[in-house]
């Protein structure tokens, strides 16, 4: 989900950039040197997973996975998503320089919220992790769409109809993202539970 270049007003762009810089600073502070390979690799996987198009009736939508990335990475989702956005700008020119901050906030803020709200839910509701996963995936995209709409409304009143359309158009994406995130978290729980946050499972290759 990207906001296009040239639409937003200067105060919105500037506050987006400032908030993104603050979030990234917190994320980098929590990122130890021994985790860089892991976060960088997951950022690459996030970049590739966002290329997956799933069919929806006659059309197709692409997955976003920001809820899942937040659940897996916590605050380090901020630098990870910033890096994925820089790579998208470099390789596909989705979004340019001035919207980088706003787009980082739109994607990463719901991710970090997902970590705090649903990471814990997954841990304390072992039987209902699929439900928590659905809410996490659905909620993260919903929040991203609302943030995107908010940037438009803050720019000018005349954008309010477009903002509503953007949120509505993303409702099918939210549902699919919720379903996919639910299955994905169920899968990770079975295959590598130690990747999920607040997990107490002992894993031999993580113990070093």
């Amino acid at each position: 989900m990207h906001i296009s270049e040239g639409v937003l007003s200067a105060p919105v762009l500037a506050s987006g950039a400032a908030l993104a810089a603050a979030g990234t600073a917190v994320g980098l502070k929590k990122l130890d040197y021994d985790k860089i390979a892991n976060v960088g690799m997951l950022s690459a996987a996030f970049f590739v997973a966002a290329l997956i198009h799933v069919p929806l009736g006659p059309a197709s939508v692409h997955l976003i996975f920001n809820g899942l990335v937040g659940t897996l990475l916590g605050w380090t989702a901020f630098p990870a998503i910033l890096v994925a956005l820089i790579l998208q700008a470099m390789l596909f020119q989705f979004g340019g320089i001035t919207t980088l901050g706003v787009n980082t906030i739109i994607m990463a803020l719901p991710a970090v919220l997902g970590y705090y709200l649903f990471g814990r839910l997954i841990a304390i509701w072992p039987g209902k992790s699929m439900l928590a996963g659905f809410i996490c995936g659905f909620g993260a995209v919903l929040l991203s769409a609302l943030l995107l709409g908010l940037t438009l409304v803050l720019t000018g009143e005349s954008f309010s109809i477009i903002a509503k359309l953007v949120v509505l158009a993303n409702v099918p994406v939210m549902i699919i993202e919720g379903i996919v995130t639910a299955f994905c978290i169920g899968f990770l729980k079975k295959v590598r539970p130690e990747m999920l946050p607040f997990s107490t499972t002992f894993s031999p290759d993580n113990s070093t």
Binding site: G6, L8, Y33, P55, I86, L165, I179, C184, F187
Partner: protein, 249 residues
């Protein structure tokens, strides 16, 4: 296949120091985003087009990339002229097209294309590794820079892994449709990508430690020096000054 279509070349732009190009692209893009006068925006579009010419890129590819924004712009053109308040130009029943609405949509279109063209001409014309080094010497935190380089190094590997998983699914008769089975399959596929990425990260980190990594990647390429750099800097500054002049008069 993921590729960097514009990164290789031997044009005037390709030979400029990446640090200068990033600084120029950032300053010019910000100036475009903050301007509103039509003279400024038209000259910005001309500057961006000149930069594209100087980069000597494949025109069809450039147009293809520029068209990506067209979808959102069409939506804007359909809605803004009738929702923005202002002097009515044309009425059809309850719908009124206003002059201010059309002006706003035109401004946004000009800005969108100029900023994207600047990005393509000045920044997408360097490999991501060069971008990482340049950002590092422009003061971007080392950890962020390393994250960018690790991620860039492995998107190609992980994309191949993704293609392999898709191939395996196809061989087993998987046909995507709008059903739960499809979404579950894609979810497991993405989950497998994340699992493999995390396991690969552990191996890579161990290999990095074995090779004595202590917090810095050593870049192999050096920044190019030469007359083209001051020429480019002067051109950028004059473009910037003329845009500011047009905006303020």
């Amino acid at each position: 296949m993921i590729e960097e279509p514009f990164a290789k070349g031997d044009s005037f732009i390709h030979n400029i120091d990446p640090r200068l190009r990033i600084a120029a692209a950032a300053m010019l893009s910000i100036a475009v985003a903050l301007s509103s006068g039509f003279a400024t925006l038209l000259s910005a579009l001309a500057i961006a087009a000149l930069a594209l010419v100087a980069a000597n890129l494949d025109w069809r590819r450039v147009c293809g990339r520029l068209l990506v924004v067209a979808g959102f712009l069409i939506l804007l053109w359909l809605i803004l002229p009738i929702t923005h308040r202002g002097y009515p130009l044309y009425s059809l029943g309850p719908v009124t097209v206003t002059r201010e609405g059309i002006m706003l949509a035109t401004q946004i279109t000009l800005k969108s294309f100029s900023i994207l063209a600047l990005l393509i001409a000045l920044v997408a014309t360097m490999p991501v590794a060069a971008l990482g080094n340049a950002l590092g010497s422009l003061g971007v935190p080392g950890k962020l820079n390393q994250l960018l380089l690790v991620s860039y190094r492995y998107i190609f590997v992980i994309e191949q892994e993704y293609q392999r998983l898709v191939r395996a699914a196809k061989i087993r008769g998987f046909q995507p449709g709008t059903n739960l089975h499809t979404y579950r399959t894609y979810a497991y596929l993405a989950g497998m990508l994340f699992v493999r990425a995390s396991m690969r990260a552990q191996r890579v980190y161990q290999a990095m430690l074995c090779r004595g990594f202590h917090g810095r990647y050593i870049p192999l390429q050096t920044f190019k020096t030469g007359k083209q750099n001051p020429v480019f800097a002067v051109l950028t500054l004059s473009a910037l000054v003329s845009m500011l002049y047009l905006e303020w008069t």
